[in-house]
C-alpha cells in the first residue's frame, strides 16, 4: 500500500532523513521505532506532504505522492494524528469531527446549508466509537490531554482513511490513559480493517500491536521485519544498547 524509497530531508546542515526506506502492506500494523532524532516524525510529515523530500520518493498504492499537498494526500486516503495535539481548540468536540466528515464528503464548500443538520449521525457514531459522545458539546480546548489525543484520533478517522498514521499516540499520557488508548487503537483497527503506521517509544505497546517493526537511526532504516526478528537483530542491539552483550 505504501512504499517509501530512499527519502532524504535536511534542515540547513542537519540531515533528518538520509535514504530511509519503508513499506506498509495493506491490512498490516507497522511500527516505526528509533531513538529521539532518528527521523520518525520527519518521515511521517514527508509521507503526509507537510514537508517535501529533498530526494527519494513516496508511493501510495503505486502512485507517487511526494509532490502533492497535504489536502491532496488526505483525499488519496492517508490520515494522520500528530505527535503534538493538533485539534480545533475553539470549536466543540462535535464540530471538530464534523468538520473532518464534511471535508471527506466534499461538502466543505456548501454555503447556504446549515451545518448543524449535516453529517450528524456519522459524527455522533465516530464520537461514540472513541468514547467522546458525552462530551460532544464541550469546547475541544477544555478537554483533558488524554481526551484531546483521542479526539485527534477521531478526527483522523473521520476522513475514512485507508492508511492511518499515528505519531506517538500515547506520548504524554498517564498509564491509565495509555491503556485506554492502546485498547482503542486495537479495537478501531480491527473494526475498520485499517492499515496503520505508527511510531512510539513504548516498546511494550509496539510489540503488542504491530505486525512489523521498522527501526530507524540517524535518518536511515536499520531493519524492517516481524517483531521477533527485530528483537533478535544485532544491528538493533547495537543501535539501542551500543553493542552491549
Amino acid at each position: 500500500m505504501l512504499r517509501v524509497e530512499g527519502i532524504c530531508k535536511s534542515f540547513d546542515r542537519f540531515n533528518a532523513l538520509c535514504g530511509a526506506d519503508l513499506h506498509v502492506d495493506s491490512g498490516k500494523i507497522v511500527a516505526v521505532i528509533g531513538p529521539n532524532g532518528a527521523g520518525k516524525s520527519t518521515m511521517f510529515k514527508v509521507i503526509t506532504g507537510h514537508w517535501k523530500p529533498d530526494g527519494g520518493r513516496v508511493l501510495f498504492r503505486g502512485e507517487p505522492i511526494s509532490s502533492l499537498s497535504p489536502h491532496q494526500i488526505c483525499r488519496k486516503g492517508i490520515s494522520m494524528a500528530f505527535q503534538i495535539v493538533n485539534i480545533f481548540n475553539r470549536m466543540t468536540v462535535f464540530e471538530n469531527v464534523q468538520a473532518a466528515v464534511l471535508s471527506h464528503r466534499r461538502q466543505a464548500g456548501k454555503i447556504f446549508r446549515s451545518a448543524s443538520k449535516m453529517a450528524v449521525g456519522q459524527t455522533m457514531e465516530i464520537l461514540e466509537s472513541v468514547g467522546l459522545r458525552e462530551r460532544a458539546g464541550c469546547i475541544a480546548g477544555t478537554l483533558s490531554y488524554g481526551d484531546q489525543k483521542v479526539l485527534e484520533m477521531a478526527i483522523a478517522l473521520s476522513t475514512r482513511p485507508k492508511l492511518l498514521i499515528l505519531d506517538e499516540p500515547t506520548a504524554g499520557m498517564s498509564p491509565e490513559e495509555t491503556a485506554v488508548c492502546t485498547g482503542l487503537i486495537r479495537r478501531l483497527t480491527a473494526e475498520n480493517g485499517l492499515t496503520v503506521l505508527f511510531c512510539e517509544h513504548n516498546i511494550e505497546l509496539v510489540l503488542s500491536l504491530s505486525d512489523e517493526i521498522m527501526v530507524m537511526q540517524g535518518g536511515k532504516t536499520i531493519i524492517q521485519d516481524i517483531p521477533e526478528a527485530v528483537r533478535q537483530s544485532p544491528a538493533v542491539r547495537e543501535a539501542y544498547l551500543g553493542g552491549a552483550p
Binding site: 503526509t48 507537510h50 499537498s69 497535504p70 489536502h71 488526505c74 483525499r75 490520515s79 494522520m80 500528530f82 493538533n86 485539534i87 480545533f88 481548540n89 475553539r90 470549536m91 464540530e95 471538530n96 464534523q98 468538520a99 473532518a100 464534511l102 471535508s103 471527506h104 461538502q107 466543505a108 464548500g109 456548501k110 454555503i111 447556504f112 446549508r113 446549515s114 451545518a115 448543524s116 449535516m118 459522545r133 458525552e134 462530551r135 460532544a136 458539546g137 464541550c138 469546547i139 477544555t142 478526527i155 483522523a156 473521520s158 476522513t159
Partner: protein
C-alpha cells in the same frame, strides 16, 4: 439520547428562541424608527447600519477566517465608486448599478485575494495593504475618471431613496437581508471549515481542506458584502470620496470588530454603533475624537481582548458547557 445531550439541546433551543425573538424585536424597532426619531437620528441610524454591514463583512474573514485583512476598505470604496460611476458616467439604471457594484468589489477581492492567499498571517495583511493602497492611489489620482480627491458628487438617485427616510428604509432592508445571508454563511459547512482553518490551518489541510481556495472564496464573499455596504453609503451620503479607500478606514473598521467582539456575529455591528456614535457626537465638541478612539483601543487590548459581546458570550458558553458536564456526571 443521553441526559447531557438533551440538556445541551434544550439550552440550544432556548437560546435559538431567544435569538429569534431578539431579531424580530430588532426588525420592528428598525421599522418604527423613522416615526419616532427626528431626521438627523434616522440618518445616523442608517449610517450605523451601513458601517455595521461593512464591519460584519470584514469579520467574516477576520474573526471567522482568521485572515489578517488589513485593507478591507478598498472593497467598500470599490463598491461605492462602481455604483457612483455607473450612475454618473454610464447612466445605467439603478437596479443594474446596484447589482454590478458589489460584483466589481467581488472581482477586486478575487484579484487581490488570489495574490495574497499565497501568504499567511502578517505577510498576507501587509501585501493586501500594499495592493489596496495601490488601488487608492489610482482612484485618488485619476481625475478624469474618478474625480480625484474631489470624489464624485451629485449622484442621480431616484426620489424614493434620496430622502433620509427612503435611504434609511432601503439601507435597513438590505442590511437585514445581508446580515441574514452572512449568518447563514458562517453557520454553513463553508463557515465551519473557515473557522477550522482559523483555529488550526495545519489540521485543516490534514483533513483534506484546500485552505488557499477556501480563503480565496471567503475573501470574495467578504468583498462582495463590503461592496454592498459601499453602495448603501452612496445612497445615504449621496457622495463618494477617495478617503473611503484609505487604509485608516480599514483600521477603524478593524477596531469596530475588536470592540464589539470578533468571535461573535453581531459584535462588529455593536462596535460600528459605538464608533460611529463617538465620531458623530464627540465630533461636535472636539476635533480630536481619535484621541478617545485611542483610549478605547488601549482599554480594549488590556481588558476586553474578545470585545464587548465576547465578554457576554464566553461566560454563557462556559455555563452551557458546565451544564453539559454536570449532566454527564
Amino acid at each position: 439520547m443521553s441526559e447531557a445531550s438533551s440538556s445541551l439541546a434544550y439550552r440550544l433551543r432556548s437560546l435559538r428562541r431567544l435569538e429569534t425573538f431578539a431579531c424580530l424585536a430588532a426588525v420592528i424597532v428598525l421599522l418604527l424608527l423613522p416615526f419616532v426619531l427626528p431626521d438627523f437620528y434616522v440618518y445616523f441610524a442608517a449610517l450605523v447600519l451601513v458601517t455595521g454591514l461593512f464591519a460584519t463583512s470584514l469579520n467574516l474573514v477576520l474573526g471567522y477566517g482568521g485572515m489578517y485583512q488589513f485593507h478591507h476598505a478598498v472593497f467598500y470604496g470599490a463598491g461605492a465608486y462602481a455604483f457612483a460611476l455607473m450612475l454618473t458616467k454610464a447612466h445605467a439604471p439603478l437596479w443594474l448599478a446596484c447589482l454590478c457594484a458589489p460584483l466589481v468589489s467581488a472581482v477586486l477581492g478575487f484579484l487581490i485575494g488570489a495574490i495574497c492567499v499565497r501568504l499567511s498571517k502578517l505577510y498576507f495583511g501587509m501585501l493586501q495593504l500594499s495592493l489596496g493602497s495601490l488601488v487608492w492611489a489610482i482612484v485618488y489620482r485619476w481625475y478624469s475618471f474618478t474625480g480625484g480627491d474631489n470624489g464624485i458628487n451629485e449622484i442621480p438617485l431616484p426620489n424614493a431613496i434620496s430622502s433620509t427616510t427612503g435611504a434609511y428604509y432601503l439601507t435597513a432592508v438590505v442590511v437585514v437581508v445581508c446580515l441574514f445571508l452572512m449568518y447563514r454563511i458562517v453557520n454553513s459547512p463553508f463557515g465551519k471549515i473557515f473557522q477550522a482553518i482559523r483555529d488550526n490551518p495545519q489540521r485543516s489541510e490534514a483533513i483534506g481542506v484546500n485552505i488557499r481556495l477556501h480563503q480565496l472564496k471567503g475573501e470574495v464573499i467578504a468583498a462582495f458584502f463590503a461592496g454592498i455596504a459601499g453602495v448603501l453609503y452612496v445612497v445615504v451620503e449621496g457622495t463618494v470620496v477617495p478617503d473611503m479607500l484609505f487604509w485608516t478606514v480599514s483600521l477603524e473598521v478593524m477596531v469596530m470588530c475588536l470592540l464589539g467582539g470578533w468571535y461573535t456575529f453581531l459584535g462588529p455591528l455593536l462596535g460600528a454603533a459605538v464608533i460611529v456614535g463617538l465620531r458623530t457626537f464627540t465630533g461636535a465638541y472636539t476635533e480630536h475624537w481619535s484621541l478617545i478612539l485611542g483610549i478605547i483601543l488601549m482599554a480594549l487590548i488590556l481588558w476586553l481582548p474578545e470585545g464587548v459581546l465576547g465578554l457576554i458570550v464566553k461566560p454563557a458558553n462556559s455555563k452551557m458547557e458546565l451544564s453539559a458536564e454536570t449532566g454527564r456526571k
